[in-house]
């Protein structure tokens, strides 16, 4: 009998009435492999790809396209086969029928898996074979392709088994369809959902949470605590030619799920058909797993709605409501009776206490999330988002093969550039202390400034901006923080990083690419205008780059925190990796573009000497200014003053920060700006350094401030008399002297 039950005749007998499953899967795999193959090859031909490109694309189809289309049908097959094989456990009649048969439970389990596999594999193999034949007929056939097909078969099989066993496990631990769907949803969405909740709480309650990057627990929950997340991770890695580690994780998880479902099937009492949860322990765990996030989630929802100081009240209300409702619904689902909504009060109380404890962790920042900086001895490197920090930066470039480069996204891949903590040019104590000091101030600073904006202006006239910092530990763990930094802290950090030569190296690395790949050199002059320079004189590029290298090497750390007079932007065109998504029909070699902006400091004498040859203004002194319009910004009204005297204009030039850059380490006067007008009538905008304001500007600013203060005090007076408690029709007239002043 044992051999008979694994025979094709047996499969045929038990498949009576279920022939639609293999038929449906055959149709699915037909669409997934041969049809996609035909469509894609036809499209490539029509788009004008070269034979080499088509071969590359076809090879990639077996890695990328078929992984997706075949994977989709494999998932569908797993769901159908899982349901077909084990849904009987939900029916008392069917359970009695199958479990009374003289077969051991263990063998019945494997028989059902075997039957499901037959349904899946037969159409799969036939359709993959057909796709290979189609490719071969169009001239695409090689051992490499066969290898790719076999690898793809293995991957799809693992995906099938993973989904299949997760289905089986859920069917074995639940007793009815409602609970089955609920638990299935939980298995696949719990990790990502919890990750979203944790992220929301960190965003809502912590000042330094870096939302744009997924890391640590949040990333782990999203990518690893869900079979779908794992498959997605693996697919992404596999398309990049990696993924062995992810495949091993998938394999181990599949084996684990198979083992769990086997145990759950063997131990499942037949009488549990129809009851929501089969195992009491699992029921309790599921309830706790649902109630706590639901309580916290509802709390957060109510926390977001009000904009008043009642936020905390509504948050607590939401926490209680969410906990009670979710507990009630779970209990109702377990007992299949609405009368049980408020039963098991002790469990409800316990869940409520856990929710309260979790909420308190965030409210009080119990683990000092905002001020935490990893101990220096544990740090491997630190990355800083220099995009907001200093524009003396460029795209992240990595040489992946000999002469082939990978270029990062300018703004998103800042964390790829790591400043090493140990080694020759390490992050020193000064830099580390600077980070600690910044971290220490975050809680207080966060209360003062509004969230969300990248650059925020403080109420005390202190401009702060947000920048990302990544601490990489020696264990490989990454910790991201989003710090609000002011100009003084920024200056200190720049000096420290240049002192330790980390930043210097970053700039020099870019210059080391040389003029071979240099496409354009763009000069941002002191007047804020941009010019292409030496486009036809490549030897001048070499000369300028050499001069720049020498100047950067010679410059002291304090110079980098000084005032740049102009900047240079370099555009590189580098040989890149052949990539399907960016493949252009007919293009032989793929190009990657990288950009670098380098501030030119007054100390860069060699560079300035070369730049002088361009004839463009290098410093503000090179520009003849005819008049300057100073704008004073009050709270509601702007005031403008025009200065034309040479002496005044020179004083303004001395205090000016050149246009064309964002120099976050320089403290500028935010209530005052200057528009210079050149002799030629061209206008450009500059900011004035704080503490270096000429007397006449200071005076003008103070007058504006006084007017501002007067207005504020008038508002105060009115507000003292008016309002709900007093007569609302009283109008306070401005005093006589105020009127004369104006």
């Amino acid at each position: 009998m044992k051999s008979k039950i694994c025979s094709s005749k047996y499969v045929k007998t038990v498949s009576k009435g279920k022939g639609w499953i293999p038929a449906f899967l055959t149709l699915g795999f037909l669409l997934a492999f041969p049809v996609v193959s035909l469509l894609m090859i036809g499209n490539w031909r029509g788009s004008g790809y070269t034979p080499e490109q088509m071969e590359f694309l076809y090879e990639n189809l077996w890695k990328d396209g078929f992984l997706l289309t075949g994977g989709f049908v494999a998932v569908l097959a797993a769901v159908l086969n899982g349901i077909n094989g084990f849904i009987y456990l939900y029916s008392k009649r069917q359970t009695d029928f199958y479990h009374s048969l003289p077969v051991k439970r263990s063998r019945m389990f494997w028989n059902r898996i075997y039957t499901g596999l037959v349904y899946y594999l037969v159409p799969y193999v036939i359709m993959v074979f057909l796709a290979i034949c189609i490719g071969a007929a169009r001239g695409f056939f090689s051992l490499k392709l066969m290898g790719a097909a076999i690898v793809l078969f293995g991957i799809h099989l693992i995906i099938y088994l993973l989904i299949y066993f997760s289905m089986v496990l859920i069917l074995c631990i639940t007793g009815n369809l409602l609970m089955g769907i609920f638990c299935m949803g939980m298995l696949y969405c719990y990790g990502p959902g919890l990750s979203l909740l944790l992220g929301s709480y960190r965003y809502g309650f912590y000042e330094t949470y870096y939302m744009e990057k997924n890391y640590g627990l949040i990333r782990f929950l999203r990518e690893y605590i869900s079979p779908a997340g794992l498959i997605n991770q693996f697919a992404e890695a596999y398309q990049k030619g990696e993924g062995t580690g992810n495949f091993m994780i998938l394999f181990l998880l599949t084996a684990f799920l198979a083992f769990l479902s086997y145990l759950a099937y063997l131990k499942r009492p037949s009488e549990s058909a129809g009851s929501p949860m089969v195992y009491r322990g699992a029921a309790f765990i599921v309830k706790i797993m649902v109630v706590i996030p639901c309580g916290l989630g509802a709390g957060y929802f109510f926390y977001l709605i009000p904009i008043s100081s009642m936020k905390t009240f509504w948050w607590i209300f939401g926490l209680i409501l969410g906990t009670v409702l979710s507990h009630g619904f779970m209990e109702t689902a377990y007992q299949m009776d609405f009368h049980c909504f408020f039963k098991k009060k002790i469990q409800l109380l316990a869940a409520g206490l856990i929710v309260a404890a979790c909420a308190m962790v965030y409210e009080t920042d119990l683990f000092h999330y905002d001020s935490y900086v990893p101990p220096k001895e544990k740090l491997a490197s630190v990355s800083v988002d220099m995009n907001m920090f200093s524009n003396n930066m460029g795209t992240y470039i990595k040489e992946v093969e000999d002469g082939i480069y990978q270029v990062g996204m300018e703004s998103a891949d800042w964390d790829l550039r790591e400043y090493s903590v140990s080694g020759k040019k390490e992050i020193g104590d000064k830099t580390y202390d600077a980070f600690c000091s910044i971290a220490e101030k975050q809680k207080e600073r966060g209360k003062k400034y509004e969230k969300g904006d990248h650059i925020v202006e403080g109420a005390n006239s202190d401009i702060v901006f947000k920048t990302g910092v990544m601490y990489k530990l020696k264990s490989g763990k990454k910790i991201y923080r989003n710090y609000r930094i002011n100009a003084i802290e920024c200056q200190e950090l720049i000096q420290c990083l240049y002192e330790e030569e980390n930043l210097k190296d970053t700039v020099l690395d870019m210059l080391d690419l040389g003029e071979e790949y240099l496409d354009e050199m763009y000069f941002n002059a002191a007047d804020g205008r941009g010019y292409m320079i030496f486009q036809e004189q490549k030897e001048k590029w070499t000369e300028l780059l050499e001069a720049l290298k020498k100047d950067i090497e010679d410059a002291g750390a304090e110079s980098f925190a000084g005032i740049p007079c102009c900047s240079i932007q370099l555009t590189y065109s580098l040989p890149g990796i052949m990539d399907v998504s960016t493949l252009v029909p007919g293009e032989e070699n793929r190009k990657e573009y990288a950009y670098s902006t380098i501030n030119i400091l007054p100390e860069y004498t060699h560079t300035l000497a070369v730049l002088e040859e361009t004839g463009y203004p290098i410093t503000l002194d090179d520009i003849t200014v005819k008049k300057a319009t100073v704008q004073y910004y009050g709270k509601e009204k702007e005031k403008t003053a025009v200065y034309e005297k040479a002496e005044e204009l020179q004083k303004l030039k001395d205090a000016a920060v050149p246009a064309g850059g964002f120099y976050s380490w320089l403290e500028c006067e935010e209530d005052v700006s200057v528009i210079f007008q050149t002799e030629q009538g061209y206008e450009f905008y500059v900011q004035l350094l704080k503490g270096k304001l000429p007397d006449f500007v200071q005076k003008g600013k103070e007058t504006a401030d006084e007017t501002e203060k007067r207005k504020e005090s008038e508002e105060e007076k009115v507000s003292m008399i008016g309002g709900a408690d007093g007569p609302t029709s009283i109008i306070i007239k401005p005093r006589e002297e105020d009127q004369t002043d104006e």
Partner: protein
């Protein structure tokens, strides 16, 4: 032999079967009777190896039945609410069971189908409740197993078919080792077929006896006595379970052998005397009343 030792099964707070000990001998028809909720189906599902007892053990020919292929191959279970895979015909069912019961006699099965007028190619889903019950019995008999467990199988069968099934059982018992275990809430259904009866009440077994044995020791007599004093004398001399009057006719249900009871009555020179056949229900009334139970609490 099916041996049930101190078997218990609870569903939450409800104890469906409570410390039941029972033995089902070979080549006899065993009737398991009890009202709704007495635990018959639960006990039968445990005997079939579908459910595992919380306590105690069930052995089929010495082998513990739960999750044991060999022990389960000795029995065929027909549940009260039988399941047939969708789109299956009787022929498909026979093919299906052939893989599980190596002694399944497919020729005999088709012969039975013809005898009972069932179409082998018709979908079972189109069969009536009674036809499905018949089909199940035919499948069970054809499976060639030693034990056939029937849960309320006769419920829904018309008298002709019921008789047909009874004859089939009798023929099987005569021709091979065959022991049907029939669970029913209807005593009348079992009285002309069972050799041995077990009575379940609230999950426990009240009694388990051979029907012949019970019939041998309890008799019902109707007689007409000439004197009232003779009636009082009989009450002293016989172990009377029940005595009632129908006019001058006296109906006595008494324990004892037929000859001993008749001898006592003949001594009184009755005007008329005869032994009446006892129904299973009457035997049960007598037995359970002795055990301290009111029969109306058990069945009605």
């Amino acid at each position: 032999m099916i041996e049930i030792k101190d078997c218990s099964k609870a569903f939450g707070a409800v104890k469906a079967v409570n410390k039941v000990s029972l033995e089902v001998g070979e080549r006899e028809v065993f009737g398991l009777v009890g009202s709704n909720g007495a635990g018959k189906s639960t006990l039968l599902r445990m005997i079939a190896g579908v459910m595992k007892p919380d306590e105690g053990e069930i052995r089929i020919d010495g082998i513990s039945v739960y999750d044991d292929e060999k022990a389960k191959s000795f029995l065929f279970y027909i549940s009260d609410d039988s399941y047939f895979p969708s789109d299956y015909t009787p022929g498909d069912m026979a093919n299906f069971y052939r893989y599980y019961y190596p002694r399944f006699d497919i020729q005999r099965f088709y012969k039975f189908l013809h005898q009972f007028g069932l179409d082998e190619k018709k979908r079972i889903s189109s069969f009536s409740k009674g036809m499905r019950k018949q089909l199940n019995v035919l499948l069970g008999v054809s499976a060639g197993t030693k034990y056939l467990l029937c849960d309320e199988t006769f419920d829904g069968l018309d008298p002709v078919m019921r008789q047909g099934v009874k004859s089939l059982f009798a023929a099987e018992i005569m021709s091979r080792e065959f022991t049907p275990v029939i669970a029913s809430h209807n005593l009348r259904e079992l009285e002309d077929i069972c050799d041995h009866v077990g009575l379940l009440y609230k999950g426990g077994i009240l009694l388990s006896r051979d029907l012949e044995d019970m019939k041998f020791h309890i008799h019902k007599i109707q007689c007409v006595l000439s004197d009232k004093s003779q009636e009082r004398q009989l009450q002293k001399e016989l172990n009377i379970l029940k005595m009632e009057h129908q006019g001058s006719l006296l109906l006595i249900t008494a324990r004892g052998t037929r000859s001993a009871i008749l001898e006592r009555i003949q001594e009184k020179n009755p005007l008329f005397c005869e032994i009446l056949p006892l129904t299973l229900e009457e035997i049960f009334i007598s037995e359970t009343e002795v055990a301290g139970y009111e029969i109306k609490n058990l069945f009605f």
